[in-house]
Symmetry: C2
Subunit: 418 residues, 2 copies
């Protein structure tokens, strides 16, 4: 028993008085039902009830209320509400935590918007969950990239390569000087390109490259699959000398990630595919700041945060907040490596460095490398030149003046971002 509490932050909208709506949420998620029942004593309430800590009104956004919302939408108000839950209600178990802080509450019809935006977890969670095993230092060690941005790419086309073609692509990319190469999230373990055959095709190429140069790029094999296959998939990669496994966190679940982490001998590259389903709406779901804490507890070493000027819907402000979040202290756990991807190329290096102030980043470019007019090696060189220039404190124009590959990249990808 403990008096530790979890504090959950929500953004909600309601036509009820704000304090009343917050109490409905707290009641639904702890001791309440729709009528008061026997044995729901004041003592039970005092010990187990979720407590509304504070309510801060916010301006309404442009969105209308969620379907099924009751009350007059014209009287709707928006607020940030913090609710604390006794840890004893669920213990430091992420699945059971979620039932309390993110369970039925999304269905409450008195709430016209309800999004879990942040969590403040007590230390007990870090006792139970292992957290990242490698993080930035382990990834730098395994990629031999002691300083500077870690640069990577995604195998393209995403799917459809034969093992022989895949080996050719990897050979080209390894030769281009990349620190990191990954399977696409669409490349799982299908009959057209089973994991076993990909490992068999890729690893000899990487070993040959390492023998030649002394450095082996980290290849993140996508081992996403049923829980009961994760360990065997991981072992296949490790037995072949692989140094990273990738999973789609939402596809195997947070608890599946924890299961893998307890067995993993290499860094876990966490892809966030399907995260948009719970997070893109401003009215509903779970925000990145809350979600990434659980991903970190469950042991991902790398986590996709998106990058600035990306091809997806997220604003630069959201992306930068996500990058900051995965690097912040959390219960003494190792930080995760933020993975910047989607529409990335060398011309974003200076703006990204200016906004984040760090090179402890894994920057992935797919089209930005494969689509460089002079090929993948020039694509990598354009990114390396740009990042080295940015980290040395130069401006983007100096980098352009010095780097032919970066200049050539601008012919396809447009002007550099200052």
């Amino acid at each position: 028993m403990t008096d530790q509490r979890v504090v959950a932050t929500y953004h909600l909208e309601t036509s009820l008085p704000l304090a009343h709506a917050a109490e409905v949420l707290a009641g639904e998620q702890s001791t309440g039902t729709f009528v008061r029942v026997a044995r729901e004593s004041d003592q039970v309430r005092a010990r187990f009830a979720a407590v509304v800590q504070d309510i801060q009104e916010l301006p309404l956004g442009p969105e209308g209320p969620l379907p099924g919302t009751v009350g007059d939408p014209r009287t709707r108000r928006r607020a940030r509400v913090r609710v604390s839950f006794p840890l004893d209600n669920f213990g430091p178990s992420i699945p059971n935590l979620l039932a309390a802080v993110a369970g039925n509450l999304f269905e409450i019809k008195e709430l016209g918007a309800i999004k879990l935006t942040d969590l403040d977890l007590p230390p007990a969670f870090a006792d139970r969950y292992a957290g990242p095993q490698f993080g930035v230092p382990g990834t730098r060690r395994l990629t031999s990239r002691a300083a500077g941005a870690m640069l990577g790419t995604i195998i393209k086309p995403s799917i459809g390569l034969t093992p022989d073609e895949l080996a050719e692509v990897v050979d080209e990319l390894a030769g281009a000087g990349l620190d990191f190469i990954k399977d696409d999230e669409l490349q799982g373990n299908g009959p057209a390109a089973p994991l076993r055959e990909r490992v068999r095709a890729v690893m000899p190429v990487l070993h040959r490259h390492a023998d030649r140069t002394g450095v082996m790029p980290m290849y993140a094999f996508n081992i996403t699959d049923d829980i009961d296959r994760l360990e065997a998939n991981h072992d296949l990669v490790v037995a072949a000398g692989g140094t990273c496994v990738m999973v789609c966190v939402n596809m195997i679940g947070l608890s599946g990630l924890d299961h893998l982490r307890r067995r993993s001998q290499v860094p876990i590259h966490g892809h966030r595919a399907m995260f948009g389903a719970i997070s893109r709406s401003a009215q509903l779901g779970i925000g990145f700041r809350a979600w990434q804490q659980l991903v970190r507890l469950c042991g991902a070493d790398h986590l996709h945060t998106n990058g600035i000027s990306n091809k997806f819907y997220e604003s630069d402000a959201q992306v930068l907040d996500s990058i900051a979040a995965v690097r912040e202290p959390l219960l003494g756990l190792t930080s995760m490596v933020p993975v910047l991807s989607s529409g990335q190329w060398g011309g974003l290096a200076h703006a990204t460095y200016a906004a984040t102030g760090t090179t402890d980043l894994l920057v992935l470019a797919g089209g930005g490398i494969h689509g460089h007019p002079d090929g993948a090696s020039a694509g990598v060189a354009s990114m390396r030149d740009a990042w080295e220039s940015a980290a040395a404190g130069e401006d983007a124009q100096s980098a352009l003046a010095r780097s032919e590959p970066l200049r050539r990249a601008t012919e396809i990808f447009g002007p550099v971002r200052e």
Copy 2:
């Protein structure tokens, strides 16, 4: 290798021409990236590309576009789009299927709304996944309720009872003639009421009841927890003679459910807490019809569908469609038992039966039983009377005329629904 395909149905909105937006989605989720790359040959496209099957325009709803959407919102159009994916891209693996049909697509900024509403899966999925082990027949056998609606309740208060108090409540509920009793989804395995102690408190009560009456109510112990604890939690219940385990499907993940199913000896009661986070928005996420297929493949025997006149946001039409969905044929798998809960009481029996035409339902009333003016036994009697009357073809007024417990229930819960 196979030529089987998965067909996914989406509701989307866009300011692009509809056909172009559908192609963006299909490209993003199969062979495409933001620039065409080497080796993305026409042959690769022909074999691996997702294909837009048909587009049916729909009227726009009241909702505005999702955040980050590009294009003029005034030119927005809405459509139902069906896209087919080669099974070979991912194989019959639910985690890898999800990366294709529900991965990054929620983040596409050309789409102002994007919801996966239905799936049409090939038979290979039923070869790989076990599906429900017990379903309706197994649940009827274990509860000795050969015909008529199966009636159940949730322990209330949800949390906060000591093991001794829990035993008292269960004794009262078992004596009241319930077929089914369940832990609340908030009652996991926390230090205030560990699963082990709940099993120790509850099972002797149920056994005594069975010795006396010949019938043991099914008690769904909430075993939700980390993947690595699920099997031990299950075994604890089974070793004590328990006949059901409950999990929050979204908390352990679909793949966690599959992991449990492969080890389970008793029906799995699937709670849908947190489903609202992916489904309440009309603009985003995954609809019940698509999701429940995956839950069924992964082996839940019971699945929460909500009930009519519920206290949450869902309309009766949505609820009835969900109840129909879990009972429909799916790849030869056993149907799931729809679990009707939230705001349920005897006065909804006639309307529910009229709309569903079946008693193969598990109807849960929390407040509707615990809150009956004459106690839980009268609460159960009011529901049993109402359901027997409805199934016999009577109208609600006849039931009211005959059943004192049902009449008394109306004093608290209002008039019966015809």
